[in-house]
């Protein structure tokens, strides 16, 4: 089952914050976040395993709420380089492959 991402698109000014959500109808084992810049391959950002942990990468962090079956990606003080499409991938046990959400297109303007 494909996770659902929201919002589908967001436009920010440099320095503003954003939150991208990823929800699943099934129990989650892990959530992965990837960023894809226009015309390029998706690049891994971080992985979260069940346990409600938070992780960080530059000024990007994420949380994982196992009970709510969702993960959120927080982009703080956004930079132009944050522009791209963000994908969450999830699975419901360690052996399963990832299923990706539909992506959230983020545009950061000067």
């Amino acid at each position: 089952q494909q996770p659902v991402q929201s919002p589908q698109a967001v436009i920010l000014r440099e320095g503003e914050d954003a939150v991208i959500n990823c929800s699943s109808s099934k129990a989650l084992y892990s959530v992965h976040w990837y960023r894809q810049k226009h015309g390029e391959a998706p690049v891994f950002l971080m992985i979260l395993l069940k346990g409600g942990e938070q992780k960080g990468h530059e000024k990007i962090s994420a949380s994982f709420n196992e009970k709510k079956q969702q993960s959120s990606l927080y982009l703080t003080a956004s930079q132009l380089s944050y522009s791209g499409t963000y994908f969450c991938g999830s699975n419901n046990n360690a052996g399963n492959m990832l299923t990706f959400g539909g992506g959230t297109r983020l545009m950061v303007k000067p």
Binding site: Y29, P42, A94, G102, R105
Partner: protein, 113 residues
Amino acid sequence: DTAVSQTPKYLVTQMGNDKSIKCEQNLGHDTMYWYKQDSKKFLKIMFSYNNKELIINETVPNRFSPKSPDKAHLNLHINSLELGDSAVYFCASSQVAGANVLTFGAGSRLTVL
């Protein structure tokens, strides 16, 4: 050295033709994948190979046939191309099978006319 490389980067062809995309990884990973990304940006897994063995074959027309001659290579052959096959095809690899970190290739954009 590119970690996951795929060729060609662009492919334009007529309906009904047969084409292949090649992928190679130099990361020493055990598992390789083919993903299809359509015009709406949905990333869907098509196939996964672990040490040359097919472990995932999602609902994909049998016109698509993957081949893995060794664990560093995974090729995709497509017969009788259709308009709906137009997409970007990404090869990826991971250390082991399962929900492992994926390293993607740069993608191969296939356009069927």
